[in-house]
């Protein structure tokens, strides 16, 4: 079972460029290492990870064996309207992981308060 966590800023105002951090729990077995009993662990890495927002692909990675276990993906987005972020990743075993997160964008003219 893989799980993931997503970190977003507390408030996002329309037009802001904001940082997303996605931590996916995955062993990322490179296929070169042995376990504690000396048996070679079969390669199992995330092959493909993408983020879809408003039916458009906004971010994609194709990690390989060089990526560490429990990889952290960090990237920036600029959004103008609220919607749902949809993350999807596939590993060598064919496991498909998913994460959905509502993204609330505040309109620019209403935000009089200073940004935190």
């Amino acid at each position: 079972m893989t799980t993931a966590r997503l970190q977003l800023p507390a408030r996002i105002v329309e037009g802001d460029v904001f940082k997303l951090r996605l931590l996916v729990q995955h062993p990322m077995d490179s296929g070169f290492l042995r376990d504690l009993e000396g048996v070679l662990v079969k390669r199992n890495v995330i092959r493909h990870l993408q983020c879809i927002f408003h039916d458009k692909e906004v971010f994609r990675v194709e990690p390989t064996t060089g990526t560490s276990a429990n990889p952290l993906f960090e990237f920036y987005l600029r959004a103008t309207k609220s919607g749902e972020l949809y993350f999807r990743w596939v590993d060598d075993k064919g496991y498909i992981g998913e994460l959905r997160q509502k993204l609330v964008i505040e309109p620019a003219n209403q935000s009089k308060a200073p940004k935190p």
């Binding site: 799980t3 966590r5 931590l23 429990n70």
Partner: protein, 274 residues
């Protein structure tokens, strides 16, 4: 002619032997007399964090990216998970996690029933076997490490204080002996690096004091959570010594010595180490 000379030689040789014997006697007795002398003064103790680079400090301090956190979450789940023939979870007997406050600062400790020295993992396994009657978690399994991390986290920030009295004393002495005895093809004792040379570089990394206050720790090199036992085994590999079997008493003895040596140092989990 040669009589008096020989006699003189004999006398001086006697004197030399006598002196040598005394010196050896002193050397031999010194460690005994100073059995509980600290090689690093209590105010000079430093957590392993002091010897890692800024990257590790950042990673450990990051409330989101710290790779130990998912294991902590898993540990929390396991705490509440009912398993075994007795249909019990950790929570059904122990209640909330705060009941475990300070537990990690006291281990390894003597198990009253069996008289063996238990580390925290052993205690959890024992509890799982005897009280929950559940399937065993092997040493170094992710479940065991996660729950150990979770239990240890209840003592976060608390100073280490293990007992070396009573039955624990012989274990303490055994641990101290291993720590201060040269071994392996490299012919090195733990104390030579971790008491006498901490702070200087070994290849690219600084030698630490070898403090046990952050285990189970996420080790970057292994890309997973690792127990103190596994870390100690790795030191055995480092000096090219024969590694004791998993769960060996030697490892508990050294752990006890290390915890005594780290007295007052604060528990810090979830931690990241190179």
């Amino acid at each position: 002619m040669s009589g008096p000379k020989l006699c003189l030689w004999g006398l001086s040789r006697c004197l030399i032997y006598f002196l040598l014997l005394n010196v050896f006697g002193l050397l031999f007795h010194l460690p005994m007399a100073a059995a509980q002398q600290r090689l690093i003064a209590l105010d000079k103790l430093q957590s392993g964090l002091a010897f890692t680079g800024p990257e590790i400090l950042d990673l450990q301090g990051d409330d989101f990216a710290n790779p130990g956190l998912p294991f902590l979450e898993k540990g929390a789940k396991l705490w509440n998970q009912v398993s075994g023939k007795n249909d019990k979870s950790c929570q059904s007997c122990h209640g909330e996690l705060k009941s475990m406050k300070g537990a990690a600062t006291r281990y390894p400790a003597i198990d009253k029933a069996s008289g063996h020295l238990f580390n925290l993992e052993d205690r959890i396994r024992h509890c799982r076997q005897k009280r929950q009657k559940a399937a065993e978690w092997p040493l170094e399994s992710e479940e065991l490490l996660s729950i150990t991390l979770y239990v240890t986290s209840a003592s976060n920030g608390m100073p280490i204080k293990v007992s070396i009295d009573g039955k624990a004393q012989s274990h303490f002495e055994a641990g101290q002996k291993i720590f201060t005895t040269r071994q392996g093809q490299m012919n090195l004792a733990c104390t030579q690096c971790h008491d006498q040379r901490y702070g200087i570089k070994l290849f690219t990394d600084k030698l630490s004091q070898g403090q046990p206050n952050a285990y189970p720790a996420y080790r970057i090199e292994w890309q997973r959570l690792a127990s103190l036992e596994r870390r100690l085994r790795f030191c055995y590999t480092g000096v090219k010594a024969e590694i004791p079997a998993w769960g060996h008493e030697d490892m508990r003895d050294i752990s006890l010595y290390l915890m005594w040596r780290a007295q007052g140092l604060k528990i810090e989990v979830p931690s990241v180490r190179k």
